[in-house]
């Protein structure tokens, strides 16, 4: 981090929004953005919050012996939970889901049993509206530091000024390609769906949920990622159904198939793209230049959490930069917290899969809340799967 960034004073929310809009329009460099928004301020911030890494904050209250967390495949360092258990005596059961839609369905169908879960930005407002998550008591999470967070990624956790969710990390949805099997260079979702029917026939995977599978098909056709217009969705359905016979699988857990080379190409989240590329350098991660998704995953606590105390304790533990940095190195998803950036080795911050250039981010969009509940998209996805 350059010295120049340290001299930047913290900026207000409206300034941040402006900066963010400028970044989205591409008129500002990512380095400038990081500098201005405070993401580059790591060392200074760390100096300002000396107690942030103190792990003894959860002595108060009985935490019980067990809790469960609902999260995504390959998303945590298993050691995190072992260390948490060693520190608090609480064993953590990890439930893995394939989509936000599935998480929501599980909560809607009655007791989920989770004390902490990891919903994505576009679902928070629905959970709040349905009364399924509770406002977070930030006094229970002293390790969280609003000042070192990038509001671009924390905004969607707040509704009417109340904090319902804290950011875990952000990321993108692109696609991974095994370049030893597929030689044609690809740069867009248009390419993805074309190659899936030709060179990667029988070897391509798409996600098992509506947002990115339908969204990417829309993007490939030149429409908006979040569209709920009936005519555009009809075109996307046509494309998806045309591609379906050529697919290897419809599954959000694609790492095993990519690693065994059963699959050669897949829709892919940043963290999985980074993990695959780290272990098998021939697997490249590509962001569509025609569009795609940028997202933030949050931590939230369900209203009916059986062990709220442990849920808060684990959340606080994960917000500790010393733990968050280990999670980051293990799962490869970019952080929203400048304190964590400061602790990262250069090969992570310099990894273009994890921290892409702003030009690559410009075409991407956050998922819109309406896609989660739109019956048209839900039914399209279900029809596509059963076609």
């Amino acid at each position: 981090m350059s010295k120049k960034h340290l001299e930047n004073a913290p900026i207000t929310a409206s300034q941040l929004t402006d900066e963010f809009m400028r970044l989205k329009k591409g008129s500002v460099s990512r380095r400038h953005f990081l500098g201005v928004t405070g993401l580059g301020l790591a060392t200074a911030v760390l100096a300002r919050f000396p107690g942030a890494q103190n792990a003894a904050a959860y002595a108060a209250g009985d935490l019980g012996t067990q809790m469960s967390i609902a999260t995504w495949p390959n998303y945590h360092d298993p050691k995190t939970f072992e260390n948490f258990q060693a520190a608090t005596g609480v064993a953590v059961e990890v439930n893995v889901f394939g989509s936000n839609e599935e998480m929501l369905a599980k909560i809607q169908a009655g007791a989920s049993g989770w004390s902490l879960f990891v919903p994505t930005n576009y679902t928070i407002s629905t959970y709040q509206k349905l009364g399924l998550i509770e406002e977070l008591d930030l006094s229970m999470i002293p390790n969280f530091s609003q000042e070192s967070e990038n509001p671009r990624f924390t905004d969607q956790g707040k509704i009417d000024g109340k904090t319902y969710a804290l950011p875990k990390n952000w990321g993108t949805t692109g696609f991974s390609v095994n370049t030893s099997k597929i030689k044609t260079p690809m740069t867009s979702w248009k390419d993805f769906f074309e190659i899936a029917q030709t060179e990667a026939d029988g070897r391509a995977m798409v996600h098992d949920y509506q947002l990115t599978t339908i969204g990417s098909a829309l993007v490939a056709l030149g429409y908006d990622f979040n569209s709920i217009k009936a005519d555009e969705l009809a075109k996307a359905e046509e494309l998806l159904i045309q591609v379906k016979p050529h697919l290897f699988a419809i599954n959000s857990d694609y790492q095993p198939s990519m690693r065994s080379t059963d699959a050669w190409m897949t829709m892919c989240w940043t963290n999985d793209g980074a993990q695959l590329n780290r272990d098998m350098p021939e697997i490249a991660y590509i962001l569509g230049k025609d569009g795609g998704e940028i997202w933030t995953d949050y931590y939230a606590i369900p209203k009916d959490a059986p062990n709220k105390a442990a849920g808060y304790a684990l959340l606080n533990y994960l917000m500790d930069p010393a733990n968050a940095v280990k999670e980051h190195i293990a799962n490869g998803a970019p952080t929203t917290d400048s304190r964590v950036i400061a602790l990262l080795p250069a090969e992570v911050t310099g990894n273009k899969i994890v921290y892409p250039d702003e030009a690559a981010l410009t075409p991407l969009e956050f998922g819109a809340a309406v896609t989660l509940t739109d019956p048209g998209r839900a039914e399209l996805m279900a029809r596509f799967k059963s076609a």
Partner: protein, 288 residues
């Protein structure tokens, strides 16, 4: 307490069948009624159920035609494939195997059925994946074979999972077969082939029909095998149902499909019974 003999007898009967009746009422009849009611409802804006009286769910059944077609094809085909493999095995066990080995051999058929289908199917995920059989094929020069996530993989999983369930009823019907009939047939100069088609096969038909009906019916509601070996591409009604409840959260439509599935099962069962009566000439087709 002056209870008459008849009242006493009635009370005992009630005590005997009452709990079962209550259980069936609460957890079979009531849920089924709830499901039928739901199937006329509407999807709530955020998913789930909203009370209504509409036929739109049933009108939309056509959008799952592929899943119904898949199931209605792969279930009987799977059952027939099971039969083709099961019959010789059952015949061997009942007729050819040495009696002192028979118990062990029959037990060995049953054992896989008593172990987790989930774990056994997982083993097939490995065997059919690139590190399994395709890897062995690569060693002998056949490259880039894809087995997993194909209808063939699902069919194989089906045969594997349900084979014991097909072997057992056929074995039982063949075991009951009076061996003296076979000997008489041979004594009268019949060739083994004509003995088989004239006596053995017809007499084992009740077992065959039981096996076919049992496996077909179970397959109509199958979820796990297509899910694990079909990669979300080979879709059964069971998968469409799970999807509607656990992804798109369309409970009314899911209920409508579930009701339809039950109707399909009843139709298939009725047809199976009719065929059984005609060919086996018996009304005794045990399903258990």
């Amino acid at each position: 307490m002056a209870l008459t003999q008849a009242t006493r007898k009635k009370l005992v009967t009630l005590a005997l069948v009452g709990p079962a009746g209550l259980w069936l009422g609460l957890f079979l009849v009531l849920p089924f009624i709830a499901m039928v009611v739901f199937s006329f409802g509407r999807r709530a804006p955020e998913g789930g159920y909203q009370a209504a009286f509409t036929f739109e769910q049933f009108a939309n059944l056509g959008s799952r035609a592929a899943a119904f077609a898949n199931t209605l094809m792969l279930a009987p085909v799977g059952a027939l494939a099971c039969l083709l493999i099961a019959y010789p095995v059952a015949y061997y066990l009942a007729v050819k195997a040495a009696p002192r080995h028979r118990l062990l051999l029959v037990s060995l058929v049953v054992v896989p059925f008593w172990t987790s289908l989930l774990v056994r199917t997982y083993a097939w995920m490995y065997l059919l994946g690139a590190r399994g059989i395709p890897h062995l094929l690569e060693l002998i020069g056949i490259e880039n074979v894809r087995l997993i996530n194909t209808p063939m993989a699902v069919l194989l999983g089906i045969v594997y999972g349900y084979l014991p369930l097909m072997i057992m009823p056929i074995y039982v019907s063949l075991e009951k077969l009076d061996r003296r009939l076979l000997e008489a047939s041979a004594d009268l100069g019949a060739k083994p082939v004509s003995t088989f088609f004239g006596i053995t096969l017809p007499l084992s038909l009740p077992g065959v029909m039981t096996g076919l009906a049992l496996v077909t019916i179970l397959l109509l509601g199958e979820y796990l095998i297509p899910q694990l070996l079909g990669g979300g591409k080979v879709f059964f009604i069971g998968n469409a149902l799970v999807d509607l409840f656990l992804q798109s959260r369309n409970w009314p439509f899911g209920s409508a499909i579930a009701v339809t599935l039950v109707v399909v099962v009843v139709i298939v069962l009725t047809i199976a019974m009719r065929i059984a009566w005609r060919f086996a000439g018996t009304r005794q087709v045990d399903l258990v």
